[in-house]
Each structure stands twice: as C-alpha cells, then as structure tokens.
C-alpha cells in the first residue's frame, strides 16, 4: 500500500488532536526552569521613600535566601523592580509594563497608599494577584479587587489600636483629638472620634488645624481647659507633631501623647526643643517587632541575627519595615510552593491562609476578608526607646 503525503498529514493531525484532547502533551522541560517573575513596586526615591527603602531590604534578603535554598521547585524567584519614585503616575505606568509585557505572576506593592490607590484598579483589571502593605481601608474590597490581599493593618485598625491603648490600657476617659488639615488628617479624626465615643471615652476636644500654624498653644490651652487627659494627634507632618510636643513641654503639661508612627520618627526628634519633650509619647507599632522586658519576640530576634549576619543595615530604618518586606516575599514564595503560579490557584490558596507566622504579623485571609492583620498585634510603643530599629512596648500592656 502506498502511503500518500496527504494521508500522513491527516494521520498526524488526528494523533496530535487526540493527544491534546487527552491532555497528555508534556510541557516542554525548559519552562520548568524559567524564573518565576514577581512584579515589585517599591518607592525607593522621592518624598515617601523611607518606608520603601526599609521594606526593600527585607524583600531583597528573602528572595536571596529563597533562591540560595534552591528556589521554588527548582525555579528561581525573579524580582522585577520598578521604582515608583513616590509618584502614582509612575506606579501606573510600571503596572502596565509588569502585568502585560513582563507577565509577572504576582505584584508585590505598591508600598505606599497614594500609589496603591492609583495602581490597584489596573492590577485588578489585568487579573494579576496582588499583595500590598498599605493602610488605606478602601484598597481592599473582595468584590472590586478579588485578587488583592493586604499584609498590614488598615487605618481603622491602627486607630483602634491607639484608642484601645488610651481607653482600656491607660484607662483615660477624657481625650483631645487633633489633626492637620490634610486628607489623611481629617479622615483619621472623622473615623476615630466616633470609635472613641463608642468605647465610652469622652472626646473633650476635636479639631483640624493648619499644619503651618507656628503656634499651637491656643489649641493646647483649649484642650487643657476642657480637661483632656491625653492628646491624640493624627498627622504625618513632623513639624506639626513636634510643635504639639514642644508646646506641651513649654506648658509643663504632663499628659501622654498617643498617635501616629511619625511621632517616633527621626525628623520629629530633630525638631524637639529638648529631649524630654519626647517622654510619655506613644506611637503605633506592632507587637512582634517591639521589645518586651528588653527582648524582642523569638521570631524577630532570630531575624535580627540573620540581618546582622548578612550585614544588612537596619539601625537607620525601622525593624518592622524590614520585617514586613521579608514577610511579603516569603508569603509569595510559600504560596507558589503550595499552589503553583496560576493566578486562580494563587488566589484560591491565599483565600485559605490561616495564622501564617510572619516576622511582622500573623496573617489570616478568607474568601470574604482580604485584610489579614490581627487587631491584637497593633500596639503602641515608647518613642524614646528606639534601639536597633525597634521600640519598647508602651507601658501597661499585659504580655
């Protein structure tokens, strides 16, 4: 029987179809050793870059450690890093590049809320899983952004942590709440004041003040006259915060100041008239990265040892930033290890993460809740106790 060219072609096509239908086409071996791409959007330069620089050190270390240990089932992790320069426009451009051209399997970042607000809808549109550490509540919405997950607390949780400290730990009932006139400041006061009232506190003073106002004595006198037992400032403006602390010092008014993390920043410290003005000031922090009785919790202590061994500088940044960076990359690696790199599998796995033991936080997600940070790990710390990038847990907490 003579075999004609057409018959051969028809036969092989049929075979190919049959094989493909049975799903037994083996994937080419080369694809298995391709690196897994992580699209990474830190702000390494620009006005909001101090957080990004800290987080970046942790992320780089984790990826290095994972790759050194053989990667994910033989595949290396590849961070495709695009500096957003603290600019939402740059973040948006980088998203298009990472999701569409580079085909990243997941996006880690943006690391600042301003950029995340601009980037999240686009990442959701391109159907790429996303993990970020930003605080703005609206960034997580399982209906709008079903593939976005948060590794950090929300602004509401941060306020709740401070309110809990004032009302339940310090047992103070008369509270003064003050903010600058920025969007962040006003939104914080408007959210936190009703929360305080619901907890049984009496808000004797609440106001928004222009951060450029050089003299805050009138405001502090008003608080004092209203009988305030504590001041809760919500602002990221070091000038504004230092004026509150300096005025409190000049008035010899000994009430605790409880609020935003910037209270404990080096910029705020540099603007103090005298070092004592930093006493009795408590800022937001995270239980796993605070000293209790002079010691860090076990996981953080081991992490600090590793950082020291790898000669990674962290005394000029904050331990929780570096830890958060490490947690982000490690969470991504654990997910790929368990579920592979397909977007749906990644999301399905993350939806079931329960009490994942990070260095920065213990993360739990469900299909209905993509905010993973537990309330009880948002604590306050003593700002004047900074040592090796970490602070003492504020007094009064039962450990």
């Amino acid at each position: 029987m003579s075999l004609r060219r057409r018959q051969v072609l028809a036969g092989s096509a049929a075979t190919a179809t049959a094989l493909a239908a049975a799903g037994s086409f083996p994937a080419p071996a080369i694809a298995q050793s391709d690196p897994i791409k992580i699209g990474y959007l830190p702000a390494l330069t620009g006005p909001s870059s101090s957080t990004g620089v800290g987080i970046n050190r942790g992320t780089q270390l984790a990826v290095e450690e994972i790759n050194k240990a053989g990667g994910i089932k033989g595949r290396k992790l590849e961070l495709i890093s695009r500096d957003t320069q603290s600019d939402p426009t740059k973040a948006v451009n980088a998203v298009a590049e990472l999701t569409q051209r580079a085909k990243a399997s997941i996006i880690w970042g943006p690391l600042n809320s301003g950029e995340a607000l601009a980037a999240t809808p686009l990442i959701a549109r391109d159907k790429v899983p996303m993990l970020h550490p930003c605080w703005v509540d609206e960034l997580i919405d399982v209906k709008k952004y079903p593939m976005a997950f948060r590794m950090a607390p929300t602004n509401t949780q941060v306020g709740k942590g401070a309110n809990h400290y004032v009302v339940n730990v310090l047992k103070l009932k008369k509270v003064a709440v003050i903010s600058d006139t920025t969007g962040y400041g006003t939104a914080s006061v408007n959210t936190y004041v009703p929360m305080l009232k619901a907890m049984g506190a009496e808000v004797v003073y609440s106001n928004h003040v222009d951060a450029a106002n050089p003299d805050l004595k009138p405001e502090l006198l008003r608080m004092q006259n209203a009988g305030a037992q504590t001041i809760m400032p919500w602002s990221v403006n070091a000038g504004f915060l230092s004026r509150i602390l300096n005025t409190r010092g000049a008035m010899n008014w000994d009430v605790p100041v409880v609020g935003q993390t910037t209270l404990g920043s080096g910029q705020t410290k540099a603007l103090l008239d005298k070092p004592e003005n930093w006493n009795k000031v408590y800022s937001n922090n995270f239980r796993n990265c605070c000293y209790v009785g002079g010691k860090l919790p076990e996981r953080a202590a081991a992490f600090v040892e590793r950082l020291k061994k790898e000669k990674i500088e962290f005394s000029d940044t904050l331990l929780w930033w570096v830890a958060l960076g490490w947690d982000g990359a490690q969470m991504i690696a654990d997910t790929f290890k368990a579920a592979g790199t397909k977007a749906e599998d990644v999301v399905a796995h993350m939806n079931k993460v329960k009490s994942w033991p990070g260095i920065y936080g213990t993360v739990t997600w469900t299909p209905q809740e993509h905010n993973g940070f537990p309330d009880q790990e948002v604590v306050m710390c003593e700002v004047n106790s900074l040592r090796d990038g970490a602070f003492n847990l504020a007094p009064g907490y039962s450990s």
């Binding site: 928004h208 450029a212 106002n213 003299d215 009138p218 008003r222």
Partner: protein, 289 residues
C-alpha cells in the same frame, strides 16, 4: 494668653510685613508684581539651616551668606523673569514668569532639602527659659529685622541721592531715563535689595516657622495681605498691615481656633478691601479720562 497673642502675633506679623516690603521694593522699581517674595522668605530659612545647622558655619557668617544668596536670587529674578516681559507689561506676563520661577525653586528645594520641616538653629546661644517669654529671640529677631529694614529704607529713599533715583524710576521710568538715570541698573539694585529683605524675613522668622519648603506658599499669601491692606508700594502701610495681620491671626487662633482662624483672617481682609480698595494707607489714584 495675652502674652502669647502679642509676642507671637507681632513676631509673625513682622515676618509678613517684611515679605510685604519685598513685594513693594520689586514693584516700585519695575511696576511688576513679582511672586518670588514668598520664595525668598522660604530660602532664608532653608539656607540658614543648611549653612549654620548642617554645615556648622558661624552664625554671623551664615547670616551674611544667606543675605548674599538672597541678593543673587533677586538679580536672577530680574534678569530671567522680569526684564524679558517688561516691554509687554500690560499683558501681565510677569505673573506667569515670576510664579513659574518661584515654583521651580520650590521644587528644587523640595528635592534637594526634603519635604519635611527641619530644625533651625538657635542663633543667640542663651539657655531657653532664662529670659522672660516676652524677650525670646524667636520673637525679637523678626521685629528687630523689621525695624532695621524700615529705618534703612526710609533713610535710603529720603536722605540719599541713589534712593531718590529709585523713587524717580518708581514714579515715572520714562522721564527718569530721559534725565539720564541708569534705569536697568537701578532696577537690578532694587531686586537685589528685595532679595536681601526677603531672605532676612525668612532667616529671622525661621525659629518659629522652621526650615520648610512649604513656607513658600504661606509667606507668598500672607505677605501679600499687608501689601493689599497697606496699599501697593507703601512700606509703612505694609508694616502696619503686617503687624495687624499677625496680631489678628493670633487672636483668632485663641478665640476661634482651628481652621476657622484662617477663615476669620480672610473675612476681615475682604471686608477691608471692600471698604477701602486702595488699602488703608494708600491714596486713591485719580484716573485721567
């Protein structure tokens, strides 16, 4: 409370008055309302902190250097943003050119210096708390600077030939040129003087206002209010307007507080301008028809 209103109010008012005078000095020499006055004030604080606090320079040397930089900025402003648009002054292109220049400098400051407020050194090394709060240097220095500036300008304009030449070009630049006065050089000198006064305001006020790039917008605006209140070109009016603004603002801080203090200031400003559009000290100009 009274002490705080008076000392803070007068000190901040003196800074506003000096910025107002900066506007006036530039305006008199060129009929250009240059929006660089707030920028000069901001630079006075930032450069002072840079030279003295960061680089550890002697306070006197740092002070002189800051004023030198101010004069230089004044000259650059005149050459880059005023001279090219003088020919078509009725089109008000200077609004764009001076504002653009001021914003550029502000952006460069934000990038190089940072967007956080930074400390300004205590200039006269005395222990805080050893003198009464009335005599704190952060209140006294702006007032002193304001007094010296106004006395110096009065002397210059009324007692010296060169000062009269300034007045001549301010009054009628064509006639002054026809008489052989070097109009361009006098204008340059005016801008240099304005640069010195602007940075002096920022430098002496920086212990209150801190070394902060964002002070530019505040000083540009609050420095303009005394000019509008006191009448364009009137330095005495600017001083009275500035001090009144400072006192009123601080009183409003105590009485109403928060963002309402700013609203109160604007409300009074608008009411004054409605009643006396030419300013409190300005004479109504007759228009020839």
């Amino acid at each position: 409370m009274f002490q705080s209103i008076v000392s803070y109010g007068l000190a901040v008012g003196a800074v506003y008055a000096l910025i107002g005078i900066t506007y006036n000095v530039m305006y008199s020499a060129s009929r250009v309302f240059s929006f660089t006055a707030g920028m000069l004030g901001m630079l006075g604080g930032v450069l002072g902190a840079l030279f003295i606090h960061k680089w550890g320079m002697n306070a006197v040397l740092g002070f002189v250097l800051v004023l030198g930089c101010g004069a230089l900025m004044g000259l650059v402003t005149e050459i880059l943003t005023v001279r090219p648009v003088l020919k078509s002054i009725e089109q008000h292109l200077y609004v764009l050119s001076t504002l653009a220049f001021a914003l550029m400098i502000q952006q460069v400051t934000a990038i190089e210096w940072g967007t956080e407020a930074q400390p300004f050194p205590v200039l006269i090394p005395i222990e805080t708390g050893t003198v009464s709060a009335w005599l704190d240097q952060k209140f006294l220095l702006p007032l002193l600077a304001c007094a010296v500036t106004i006395a110096g300008l009065e002397y210059l304009y009324r007692r010296t030939l060169i000062g009269r030449a300034f007045l001549a070009i301010a009054e009628d630049s064509y006639a002054a040129r026809a008489l052989g006065l070097p109009e361009t050089r006098l204008r340059l000198a005016s801008y240099a003087i304005a640069g010195i006064i602007g940075t002096l305001a920022g430098f002496t006020g920086a212990q209150m206002l801190l070394a902060y790039f964002g002070n530019q917008a505040i000083l540009s605006f609050y420095g303009f209010v005394p000019v509008a209140l006191g009448g364009m070109g009137s330095n005495r009016g600017a001083v009275i307007g500035g001090l009144a603004l400072g006192l009123f603002q601080q009183a409003a801080n105590f009485l109403v507080g928060g963002i309402f203090a700013a609203v109160a200031v604007f409300a009074v400003f608008i009411v004054v301008l409605l009643i006396r559009p030419e300013g409190l000290a300005g004479a109504a100009t007759a228009r020839r028809v």
